[in-house]
Amino acid sequence: MIGVSILIFGLMMTFSPERRAAAFVTTPQMAKDIPMLIKKYGFDKPFYVQYFTWIKEVSHLNLGYSLVASRSVFDAFLYYFPITLELNLFASPCIILFGIWMGTIAGIKPNSFFDHFSRIFSIIGWSLPTFLFALVLMMIFYGYFPWFPPGVLSDKLTMFVMNSNDFIRYTHLYTIDGILNGRLDITLNALKYLALPVLTETIVICALLMRVMRSGMLEEMSKDYIITAMAKGADKKTIYLKHARRNALIPVITIAGQLIASLMEGSIAVEIIFNRQGIGWWLASSATQLDMPVLMSMCLVMAVVFVLSNLFVDLIYAYIDPRIRLS
């Protein structure tokens, strides 16, 4: 974490004091105040002083001001994050369960029809660009059959309900809030908007998971303890699911942790194409408009997310693999 913070700070320091001070300039008249601004924000101080000032601000969640969102970075994050989170909430289980399920079956019966099918499926998912996939899906399910619209829940009636006093936005996730307020129609509606992005992410990302799971299963099935289990009189289901799969899951968990963590930053292509203004969309816009505070603080957030996901993966490891468990 500290390393990442220094790295981010170092990147920021490559900009001249004037350039950074210019971030605070909002009108042409203020341009002449740049030397004063440099003094005011301490941009002429030695870098380590600046570093600690920055760390202090960051630790108070003061991450700067986002031009794109025209609010503070922290507020903007809270505004965009639920949209990404909601997508991930549905996409992650789909990715993990579907990937493991297909990988297991393909690994149990290599070179069967299902194995070939899953191989083709994963090659398509892995090699086609996400945006193309998203566009094709949208063309079919929105263009030809108007079932699954892009965007987020925003029709007038829903917004009216949303903004009424009775509807409490506990989580800012449309689906969850709908259930919590007893408005299942809103949940169902929101799910309609979610279907295509979730499908896109599932197909694109579970391809890798599936392949790892398959090769893991194949490897474990040739190990000696499988023969021991067979000689014990175990039935096929026990051998596959209790003995082989738990061992094969170990590498899959590592990858799944990384994939889910990277999903948390938002999938830029998916969010832009389906017009869901989440973290990915915000990041992409910030990058094109050189919204430095946003980019820097998002780097920091990503680092936090990755550290947390690694921690989480380690915990699952310890659950599955007794060799890693501490005494």
Partner: protein, 386 residues
């Protein structure tokens, strides 16, 4: 002595990319009840494939092509043998019932033979949970009726119902349904406790101290010798009639090896009736076996009682093999067998040993010799040994 296993003309092939590996070339072998049968031969001669064929756990790409394996199941108390069953014609379900219950197996690599992420206890009790559900249910019912009625009113009738059901039919669909329902699946707790009690018992029987602690530990906590004992415990759990030891001592150091062999010998008297010991160590064979079979390149050369084989080997391969054992006070150079093991994708015609045999005749190259009794149960597959 009555027969236990009778193998007739067993052929097993492996379909690899290089071609069909003819791993077993019409093996015929009888194993009697109550003996220790040693199967010797060099690496890759088909010893393991033979025993895996008996249990029908030859893994893909291997396939049992033809032959018959008769298993004479013991009838409790009755003197007459029941009708032998041909294992190769049985359903997979029957084989599952047989494996680990009637015939069980221990393996060469104790480190690899245990699942690294399941506890020792879970792996040992699995055997009981597969095969002894009925007996355990009966035992638990006894306990239930003996117990005082101090538990909550509903639990006991439920448990009694579940275990009565289990005693009647271990495959009951209703119980499977129970196992899937969150609270109701607690009925299995007593079954698991019973399996645990039995597992600890069998682990203790194998001279392992601290069995309770071992039960909860994992394979990586144990030494190689310990692991091998656990593998043996798994195999012995259901008191099988035949224990197959597939090079069970090859990877252990000599002291542990001696301990394990000693253990097998004592166990043979108590629990199991016969042992099929696979090894390439002639010393082990001389020490422990009653009868020996010698294999070469997928065919059985010679079967004889152990003393007869060591004193009076009849097959040229056995002779050469015994000659190449280093002896104490040996002055001259150690003898070897000329040539090398044939590739089993394209095995030699006729007798598979003929290219390396000093006594080879024209006939040996054309026709495979049948294994025949040359008196006193000494079976030899060689024209020259007639």
């Amino acid at each position: 002595m009555s027969k236990l296993i009778e193998i007739k003309d067993l052929v097993t092939n492996f379909y690899t990319y290089e071609g069909v590996v003819k791993a077993l070339n019409k093996i015929s072998l009888d194993i009697d009840k109550g003996i220790t049968f040693g199967l010797v031969g060099e690496s890759g001669c088909g010893k393991s494939v033979t025993v895996r064929s008996i249990m029908r756990i030859v893994q893909s790409p291997g396939k049992i092509e033809s032959g018959q394996i008769f298993f004479h199941e013991e009838n409790n108390g009755s003197t007459s043998d029941s009708e032998p069953v041909d294992l190769l014609l049985q359903t997979e379900k029957y084989m599952r019932h047989l494996r680990g219950n009637k015939i069980s197996m221990i393996f060469q690599e104790p480190n690899a033979a245990l699942n690294p992420i399941l506890s020792i206890g879970a792996q040992v009790s699995e055997s009981f949970l597969f095969h002894k559900k009925k007996e355990m249910a009966g035992k638990i019912l006894e306990h239930l009726s003996a117990e005082d009625d101090t538990t909550l009113p509903l639990i006991k009738p439920f448990l009694r119902f579940a275990y009565t059901k289990l005693a009647e039919n271990p495959q009951s669909g209703l119980l499977k349904l129970f196992s899937r329902v969150p609270v109701l699946k607690l009925w299995e707790t007593k079954l698991k406790q019973e399996a645990r009690r039995r597992s600890v018992e069998i682990i203790e029987k194998l001279a392992i101290p601290n069995a309770r602690k071992i039960f909860d530990s994992f394979p990586h906590n144990l030494s190689g010798g310990m692991k091998q004992r656990i593998v043996i415990a798994i195999a012995l759990a259901c008191s099988p009639v035949l224990l197959i030891a597939d090079e069970a001592t090859s990877n252990l150091d000599v002291t542990i090896q001696a301990q394990i062999l000693e253990l097998l010998n004592t166990l043979k008297n108590d629990i199991i009736s016969s042992i099929l010991l696979i090894t390439h160590d002639l010393g082990v064979v001389a020490e422990t076996c009653d009868r020996v079979g010698v294999m070469y390149a997928g065919s059985l050369c010679e079967v004889a009682d152990v003393k007869e084989l060591f004193h009076n080997p009849r097959h040229p391969y056995t002779k050469a093999l015994l000659n190449s054992v280093p002896k104490r006070a040996q002055a001259k150079k150690l003898e070897t067998i000329e040539g090398s093991v044939p590739n089993l994708v394209t095995p030699p015609t006729g007798c598979r040993f003929h290219p390396r045999c000093s006594l080879a005749m024209e006939k040996c190259k054309q026709k495979t010799p049948q294994i025949m009794d040359k008196g006193n149960g000494h079976m030899v597959a060689c024209y020259a040994a007639a």
